[in-house]
Structures are given as structure tokens and as C-alpha cells.
Symmetry: C2
Subunit: 137 residues, 2 copies
């Protein structure tokens, strides 16, 4: 692996990610930071997100509505994903035990490096919207 130098942009990306609970996409980060760094490039955001997740400093949540989402919280926890608005929320008390996962890996001969545990459905707001739409038809 190549040497990693510090950079202002990467520091800012990581600081922003650690200050929000919204599980951002690359573009969301780009929109937020280009006020402070007007010449920021979207490619820079992607390159740094990829680098940070290779170093396990951040985590990939998965592709939601066509965009990869990231999470600066790296300890094991599950997510709820709203299929209508794309919101991602933490389910902190819902992580599979590391022990169970590793013993599954051993059983099948896999090297388990991580996991995604996402519940899918409708959040409270969207549940209400859907109900209104249906009663209108």
C-alpha cells in the first residue's frame, strides 16, 4: 500500500462525516463542502471516500437509490433504509454478534471481513404519505 499523506480536503470530508447522522452520499458531501472549498472536485470526494473505506476508517452502507452511502460509525450496527425517501437510520441495538459471524465463517471456510444488515421498508413520514395517496385514488 502506498504512503498516505495528510490533506485538507480529506480531513474536511472525515470531519463532516463524523458530524452528521445522515449516512451521506459522495454528492451530498460535495455539495456541503464546496461552499467552503469552491474548487473542490467531485472526483476528490470519491477518491477519498474509497481510500478511507479501504483503511476501514469509514464503512460502505450499500447502494441506495443508485448512490453509494457511507458511514463514519464503524462499530457493528444495523440500518433501517426507507425505500421511498432513501433515509438511512441506525439501529444500534441490532448488531449480529461478532462471535456468531466468525463461527459461521469458519464453518464454511470464508474469511469474514464485515457485514451489512439493513432492514427495508417505509419510515414513519413516508408511511403516512402512502396512506394519503392511497385514500385519494
Amino acid at each position: 500500500m502506498a504512503i498516505v499523506r495528510r490533506s485538507q480536503k480529506r480531513d474536511a470530508i472525515l470531519r463532516l462525516m463524523r458530524s452528521t447522522k445522515c449516512h451521506p452520499s459522495a454528492d451530498w458531501i460535495y455539495q456541503q463542502l464546496k461552499e467552503q472549498y469552491p474548487n473542490l472536485s467531485l472526483g476528490t470526494v470519491y477518491r477519498n471516500l474509497n481510500q478511507l473505506s479501504e483503511q476501514h476508517i469509514i464503512r460502505r452502507v450499500g447502494v441506495i437509490q443508485g448512490q453509494e452511502r457511507f458511514d463514519a460509525v464503524t462499530y457493528p450496527h444495523a440500518h433501517f433504509v426507507c425505500n421511498r425517501c432513501g433515509t438511512v437510520m441506525d439501529l444500534p441495538d441490532c448488531a449480529p454478534s461478532e462471535q456468531a459471524i466468525q463461527s459461521l465463517g469458519k464453518q464454511y471456510g470464508f474469511m469474514v471481513e464485515g457485514h451489512e444488515f439493513n432492514l427495508r421498508g417505509l419510515c414513519q413520514d413516508c408511511k403516512h404519505h402512502i396512506t394519503l395517496e392511497e385514500s385519494a385514488s
Copy 2:
């Protein structure tokens, strides 16, 4: 929802999906079926996969190495995904209980429609390849 008519292509897609354990991508299905249906269109595969998953006849596994993967097995079960070769395998005895999921939904006010539970890592083959590559450097 619009009326659904039967079609030869959709029947063939579903038959193929039910005959394999490989959790195919749209393109894999397209490559397989275009021998028998030379004028099959990739758009047709996508349209039918989307329709079948809206009807809950098949399931989305998630985006793996840039491609959405699908599963004709719809009862709850987990997957192992190899980060190197992209293989997806079923972990049949590793499904979160429906009861636990629904009670979580109730607790937060979500309507839970489904879930993804994917372990990630290296499969047996790729584990060996990585070991060889490292010992070569």
C-alpha cells in the same frame, strides 16, 4: 397497478432464475438466454426483473461490484458475498426471525417490508489466491 400479461421472455427469465444458485445479474441472464432467444433485448431483462421484484416473485440481493444481483429464493435467508470474485452464496440457517424484525419496526414506527443480511469477505478460493499473491511480494 396495470394488468400483467404473460410473456414467453418473462417465463424464461423466471425459469432460468429458479434453475440456478448463482444469484444472477441482468447481464448474466441476458447472456444465457440470448442463445435461445437471439433477438432478446437487455432492456427486456431489466424491465422483467424490476416487475418480478415489485411483485415479490424475486428478490434484490443488492449491488455487488457495480451490478444489481437477484434471487428467486424469497424466503428469509442471509448471503455471503466474496469481495474479490463477487460470488454470492446462501447461508440458509442464518435468517433473522420475522418476529424480531417486525417488533423492531413497531418500536421505531417503521413499516418493515424486507431485509438484506450479507456477510462480506473472501471465499475459500480467493482466500488462497490472496495468500499466494502476498507470499510472492
